[in-house]
Structures are given as C-alpha cells and as structure tokens.
Amino acid sequence: MSESSSAVARPLLPNLLAINDLDLKQIQHLLALAADFQQQTPAKSLVGKRILLLFYEASTRTRTSFEVAARRLGAETVSITASSTSIEKGESLLDTVYTLRAMAIDAIVMRHSVSGSPVLVADHVDVPVVNAGDGMHQHPTQALLDAFTIIRHKQRIAGLKIAIVGDLLHSRVARSNIELLSRLGAEVRLCAPRTLLPPAFASLAPGLILTHRLEEALDAADVVMVLRIQMERMRESFFPSEAEYVHHYSVTADRLRAARPDAIIMHPGPMIRGVEIGADVADSPQSVIREQVENGVLIRMAVLQSALLPARFSKA
C-alpha cells in the first residue's frame, strides 16, 4: 500500500477479500490488535458506524461472530440473509448492493456461495468490503483467527508442522490458511484423497507438502486442522463411501499418536464427529475448536476496526 500524506488518512484495510491482499505488516497488525482486544475491554471505536452483513449463504456461526464483533466496538449492524425478500425475488447481486448502499452503510461484510462475488461487489461500491467466505475461494477472517489461535498455544507459526486434512478442493478455509500459514513460515502439509487434492495445489504457496497418506501428514505435526467432508461429494464420486473415507482419512485418537504429543486440533466447523474427526479427538484436551470460535470475534473486531478507521487511530 502506498503511504498517503493526504489530509484524510486511509484505513489500514480498504478491503479484505483474500489473504494475499494483506502484506506482512497488515497481518501482524491484525493479530496484535486482536491480542489487545483480548487483554482489555475495547473502546467503542465504531460508534455511529453502520455495517451491512450481507449473507447469501446461511451461516449462523460466522454472521453471529461478525455481529458480536461489530457491537462490541459500538457499531450498528444490518443483517440481510438469503431468505430476505429482495434476494428471494431474484434481484441481481449488484442491484441489491446498490439499493442497500443507499442506506448509509459504512462497510459490507459478505458471504456468498459463488467464488469472487465479494470481489465483484468491491469493484462497484466505495465502502470497505470484508469477505466472510466466498464459494471455494477465500475465508480470510477464518485463517486469521486460526493463526491467532495457533500463536496463543505455540507462541509462533514459523517452523511449525501444520497438517490440513479433508476436502481441500472445495475448501475456502484451506485456501486462505495455506496462503497465510505458509507466508508466516509454517511447514504446511495437505492431505486428502487424490480426487480432492489435485497436484495444482502445490502452486498455492512455496514448500507445500501434498500427500494422500494420513500418517505421513500427521507425522510429528504441531497442529492438525481438520476440514469438513460433505456427503454431497460422495454422490459426485470424489470418494466411494463415507465408510471408506473414515477408514482412510478420519482423524482418530489412534492415528493422532503419530503427531507430537502436544499437537493441537482445529476444525473450522461445522464438524461431524465420527466422520472427518473422531469424537475422542474433537472433545480431547488437545482440541482448541471452541477457542477458535471465541477468537473469531476478536479477529473480526480487529478487521472491522482496521477497515473502518483511518490507520493512525487503529494502532495496535
């Protein structure tokens, strides 16, 4: 980003559409700001701001997380969900956005089932757009909260062995995490059946390790991130059956013995115990899955403040 000396200071984060939009300084700023919010009750820095939560895909979890984050900073939220009338009537995405934009909105937080939709919207509005998950593309706040959670436990990212296991092909969480954790210096291993992990994945970041063998991915791992498997993929013949997936790729307590004893277990949710993750693992002391949800609010507070306030008021 260029350093502007104009009278109106620009926000630190004009948009957050993908992890690769962020430089290292911005990443560190966001992580530090979230840590500050954890330490002390935050000031109501966003009083008078109105944030539009535009959710074209149902996600109570992420929408609530942004809502809580916004309100903790004093901002007002307007929630538009897939069941809202205008969306139901088949109005185009841009027409909906133009209409809502007229209601004095200061920022848009957006979730959509089609990759790139927040990018399209950001191209057509003059307020910050925060991507809350788009198709198979990106989910940047999820990756930031995952990095934040890892640092809480491991004090660092650099040098850690991080295994990401599950439906990588269809996962926006995976894409964002691969980019972010690799950039922060982790050794990232990707593990899935060949049908859900095409070789092109190796191009997403330097030094990625791709494997179809779970024990290889888990070997001496510091962090194990498990991704959801949708049974819809079975019908599309990405794998033969739920049972076979469980036999080969379910992260169970038994298999987890290959990882470091202090390895932490993560899952972006919603998870299905007994499929991609063993119940014994999901509820084990090593699991930080509930903490991820709490940290999500802190990271989203950091993102919203950085998107809405000029950089100099947004100090870490």
Binding site: S92, S115, M136, R172, R175
Partner: protein
C-alpha cells in the same frame, strides 16, 4: 456504380499476389486488378499505404436473431461485422427457435437480405433443437441455403448420432462443425482447470474435456469420410489429435478465436465475466501451442465466436454469468497484433480470415480475381486506435479488450461492389 480501389498493397492468399496496384469493381464483380491499371476518376478510393485483401469471412458468429434481439440482431451484428472488415458471416443456429429446419433457415436468410450489411450464411443445427437426440432436417436446410451444420453451444455427445449426422451431411458436402466438449468432464466448470482456477476457487473445465471429444470425432470423420470442422479449438492436447488426423488424411479442419490466441487464464482479473467464455481461456502453454499450430496450418482459420450478451447478464457472479464475448470488431486488429509479434506472417493471417474459411464452407468469396464477387476489405495496418466498447456497432459490449491500444483497422469494406463501411476519423 463502379468503384476503384487505387494504389493499395493487394494481398490475395489464394493466388499469392502481393503487389501495389488497383482493383476495378464493376457492379457486383471485380472487373480487373493489377499495378497501375486505373486512372483516378469518380468512385476512386485512395488506398495508398493500405492493404487491400479479400473481404474477411467469419465462420462462427452468433447474431442472436430470432429470439435474443436484446443481445444482437442481424442488423447490428452485421454492422459490427463490416466495421471489423468482415464481408461475410456464418450465423450459428442457437437462436430461439433453433435453426433446425428449412423454414427458419429461409426466414433468417430473408431477414438478412433485407437488413444485413454483410453476406449472411446460415449454419443449420445438426439435431432437432440442438438437443443431440434426433437428426435435424439436414437435406431441407441445405436446399434452403444452409452451408454447414452445428449444434454450437452444445456438443453432440452421442457418438452414434454424430456418426449418422456425418454420414448424412457428407451427401451434401456440408461440414459438420462440432463444439468439442465432453459435458461430463466439463460439468459445472466456469474457467480453464489449472492453477489459476484452483486459486480463484472456480470450478474447472479441463483441456481434456475438449481433446478427448476431438479424438473421438476425428475417428468418426475418418470412418464416415465426412468433413469435421472443429469449432474454437483451445487446448494444446487437441492440436495433437487434429495434427495426427490430418496426417492420416482425415477430412478435419479447425478454427481458433483471436481471444484464445491472445489471452490466457492468468489474465482473468477480478472475476470479470468479460473474460468468461466456452471454451475458456487456457494456460500460457496452451496458447503457445495454438500460435504454432495456426502458423503451421494445423489450425486452418481464425473465427470470432462473436457471442453478444447484455451488460446485466455479464455483471453477475462469475459462475452465473453467461459464456462468450463479442469479437467482430477486434478480430482483425488482434490478428495483426500476432503478425506484429512475429507469430504468423501477414499472408497467413489474411489466408486464415479469407480464402481458407471460404474453402471450408464452400463459399464463393475469399479471393481477389477478375470475375470474382467484389467482396473486398481495405485496412490501414498502421492506424493506432483505442477500443471503447461504447463506440462499437454491436448491440452488446461484452469484451475483455476495452481500453486496449491497437494498431491496424478496417477503413473500407466493400460487399458485392457496395461500399458498406467507411471509417470516419
């Protein structure tokens, strides 16, 4: 009315002619051509510094009429054609109704006679409704004037139906134009499958969805003896299948679009659906293979796949926006750009836009010789200009080349001896 094109560089791939000279047009025919044969007089167009070539012919155009007049009409589409230097276009049958019968073919050609600036040839559907299930009335459409067959927009998936269509079409010597795409392999896809689609999180259309279909179809063409014309070839692997088939004497020809020769998947910026088309922009390596195949003749011709769509249709989520871009007014400048970059010679470029397409579809134009129809394009190869889609003649503006600086542009377009387009600066 007579017309004299004076002192231009006459390029005629059919005869190999490349010399400064004049073309004298009488009524709808070329009367004579050669160096210094005409004294200036009324009806003389000074072509000094310009290139005079056969009128460009586009075998692959979607005029959208009848049924989708909000995207394009015969009138606007052919106005765009002549502004781009095209004197003849082949209209694809995926209109509403589909041109799968003699009545619709006759209607289209009648409308074209009334409204068109360029010559319009009809491509009839291969199957009823282009649904791939039953043969369309191929013989009747041929009698009504259709010059080729295609279910373009859709492939003929059923090999038995395609085989029968080839056998039947070969009686009329009509090329069967296949939109080569295995719909099972491409299902749900929005862009080329590769590293870029993976990063953007967009479902992919693999190169194999095209190449496997072409591999099958050239074998069917070999068996039936029919003429298979591969529409908008895009994948490097497909080239090998065509090259081998040609070597074995199978009657196969292929076309490539200017955009596949120019852009690649990495050029897709900000999920702009003006970069979305089918087949999709392929990889850097694919494009390189296409350029070489065009130069060595494995790919026979350049065709635009001019596919107009309204702005509101394109300004949508990427996977929801329709496929296709307009191309009639950018084809010549994009091709000249390839010449400038040294990928193909000027003569080969003109051949791929004139005499070769004419011979593939058995059309009368495509050559400059005494007695031939007076379809002539004059372009200034050095004219610099910037593309502003709002200035285009097409009803639609869906092009990824907005703002591009080009060198070279049609200045005069003559169809049947009539000056139907003249560039005004």
């Amino acid at each position: 009315m007579n017309l004299i094109l004076k002192n231009g560089r006459i390029l005629d791939p059919a005869s190999g002619r490349d010399e400064i000279g004049d073309i004298v047009i009488q009524e709808d025919r070329i009367r004579d051509l050669g160096p210094g044969i005409a004294a200036p007089g009324p009806g003389t167009l000074d072509c000094t510094g310009m290139i005079v070539c056969p009128g460009l012919i586009d075998l692959h155009v979607h005029l959208r009429e009848p049924g989708f007049e909000y995207k394009e009409t015969i009138e606007t589409g052919t106005r765009a054609a002549v502004a781009g230097g095209f004197t003849a276009v082949c209209a694809m049958p995926n209109t509403n109704p589909v041109n799968d019968n003699a009545g619709t073919t006759a209607y289209l050609l009648q409308r074209a006679r009334e409204l068109s600036s360029a010559r319009v040839y009809a491509v009839g559907a291969i199957t009823v409704g282009s649904r791939g299930e039953a043969l369309a009335s191929i013989g009747d459409m041929h009698r009504a004037g259709a010059v080729a067959l295609s279910d373009d927009g859709r492939p003929v998936m059923n090999a038995q139906i395609l085989r029968r269509a080839m056998e039947y079409a070969s009686m009329f010597n009509m090329p069967v134009i296949q939109h080569s795409e295995d719909l099972n392999l491409s299902a749900g896809g929005a862009m080329h499958e590769g590293e870029v689609s993976l990063r953007l999180g967009l479902p992919g259309i693999s190169g194999q969805s095209e190449s496997t279909m072409i591999a099958r179809d050239v074998l069917l063409a070999g068996q039936t003896g029919a003429h298979l014309h591969v529409a908008h070839i895009s994948s490097g692997e497909s080239i090998e299948a065509v090259r081998q088939a040609k070597k074995r004497g199978i009657r196969v020809t292929a076309e490539v679009t200017p955009h596949h020769l120019t852009l690649i998947d990495e050029d897709i910026k900000n999920y702009d659906a003006n970069f979305k088309m089918n087949p999709p922009l392929r990889s850097r390596a694919d494009r390189q293979i296409l350029l070489e195949a065009l130069a060595d003749g494995t790919i026979d011709i350049i065709a635009t796949d001019h596919a107009p769509h309204a702005a509101h249709e394109k300004q949508q989520e990427f996977t929801r926006a329709p496929m296709g871009i307009i191309g009639l007014e950018t084809a010549l400048p994009l091709t000249l750009r390839l010449v400038e970059q040294g990928h193909i010679s000027l003569m080969r470029a003109i051949e791929a836009l004139t005499s070769r397409p004419a011979s593939i579809a058995n059309l009368p134009g495509g050559k400059l010789q005494a007695g031939a129809p007076a379809d002539v394009t004059v372009f200034d190869p050095n004219l610099s200009w910037t593309l502003d889609p709002a200035q285009g003649r097409s009803k639609s503006r869906n092009t990824p080349f907005a703002g591009w600086n080009f060198k070279g542009r049609a200045v005069y377009t003559v169809v049947g001896g009539r000056l139907v387009y003249q560039l005004h600066n």
